[in-house]
Amino acid sequence: MNLSVQLGGLTLKNPVMPASGCFGFGQEFSQFYDLNTLGAIVIKAATGEARFGNPTPRVAETSSGMLNAIGLQNPGVDQIIKQELPFLEQFDTPVIANVAGSSEEEYVIVAEKLSKASTVKALELNISCPNVKEGGIQFGTDPELAYQLTNKVKNVSSKPLFVKLSPNVTNIVSMAKAVEEAGADGLSMINTLTGMKIDLKTRKPLIANETGGLSGPAIKPIAIRMIHQVRQVSNIPIIGMGGITTSEDVLEFYWQGPTQ
């Protein structure tokens, strides 16, 4: 059975790939299975400089889900290119690099550098991280800002560009349309929904950052709905995610018409 898919110019062996941030830079999970079996590898968000991220606790369990507020911890784009990407060269699996930042300039610099790295086959523009004070999310909730940012990044990158949308919006369709018009080659849907958990002992938010991003099976119905809505108005590929844990889940996303 041929499971290969076309994804905005890339050909993938199969439509299965890890979501950014859940897979580090690939080293850890390579001890558990052969990364060649994946359709693509999406690495953790890169920013212009190294970031330490948020204080701990950074994760909390919820019903059929979890909250995380890692806060984009990463060694910075230069270190990622130098120290992390070489390991991934050995696999016959395209690498998609997740691009983050606090300002338009930072996004553009990070995207430009990553798009020049030969191991990187596509970019995923993370305009939807809810876990850092400045950066990310405002680009993901305002179609105008999202359009501008996508446009600027597209101009400096020769590689296919996926834009990762935030579900924390009133109108997902207008966000999708804006970034498509700005030149996005595809969409990644969805990032996490902003949530909170209270520690019953302290009566305070359990996560040090107070809010965190909700992921897991709990949010799958929301992901499916948003992808369905966007699919009615757009034909560019969609990388679907949000609570995928079983093969049935894969099919539920697949039959929406997205790619993954």
């Binding site: 941030g21 859940c22 897979f23 580090g24 080293q27 850890e28 999970f29 001890q31 558990f32 953790k44 330490f52 991220g53 701990t56 606790p57 950074r58 994760v59 909390a60 369990e61 979890m66 995380n68 890692i70 911890q73 060694p75």
Partner: protein, 206 residues
Amino acid sequence: MLRRPISIADYDKQINQLTIIYKVFGEGTDWLARQLPGGQINVLGPLGNGFDLSGIQGQTVIVIGGGVGVPPLYNLVKQLNSQFNDVTAILGYQSKVSIFYEKEFKDLTQTYIATDDGTYGYDGLVTDVIRELRFSYDHYFSCGPTGMLKAVQHQLSDIDGYISIEERMGCGVGACFACVCQADNDKGYVKICQDGPVFHAKEVTL
């Protein structure tokens, strides 16, 4: 449900048996406690490191445990004994009712018990016991709540020490950056699940 991090309290290679000791704390450990003999559970491990005892022979060693930090020290004391060290154990609990493994430790080595509310043994914290004993040690090993570890780290800052630390975890294998701790190394942090949970007391900032 997310996986739960639980230390290996003891193991027996001959009979392929591994012992874990845990406190029923919330949903996950409650589920675990309801499993029946003969049942199967899904385990990912062993992950991370343990206490490194190479070269620790014929020395005086203090072992400090607090609450559910006690179990992982059990096998440690066994090993320290087998390497001819002179071991003192100091175990702290909230109250008399929460004490466990007292006899097991006393069978192995000289053991002091402290309770926060004074209902058994020494009335106070493990750090109070250490202060009273006024012995000198070559090394210390500790496992327990972060507050206790911090106090011990401070009190015994001039002794070679190793601490096992806790944090909420996501992946358990180093991929998600949930369990980082600030550290005095070139990256500025360690991942507890992958680089730890045991660290040299001087390396990490609690």
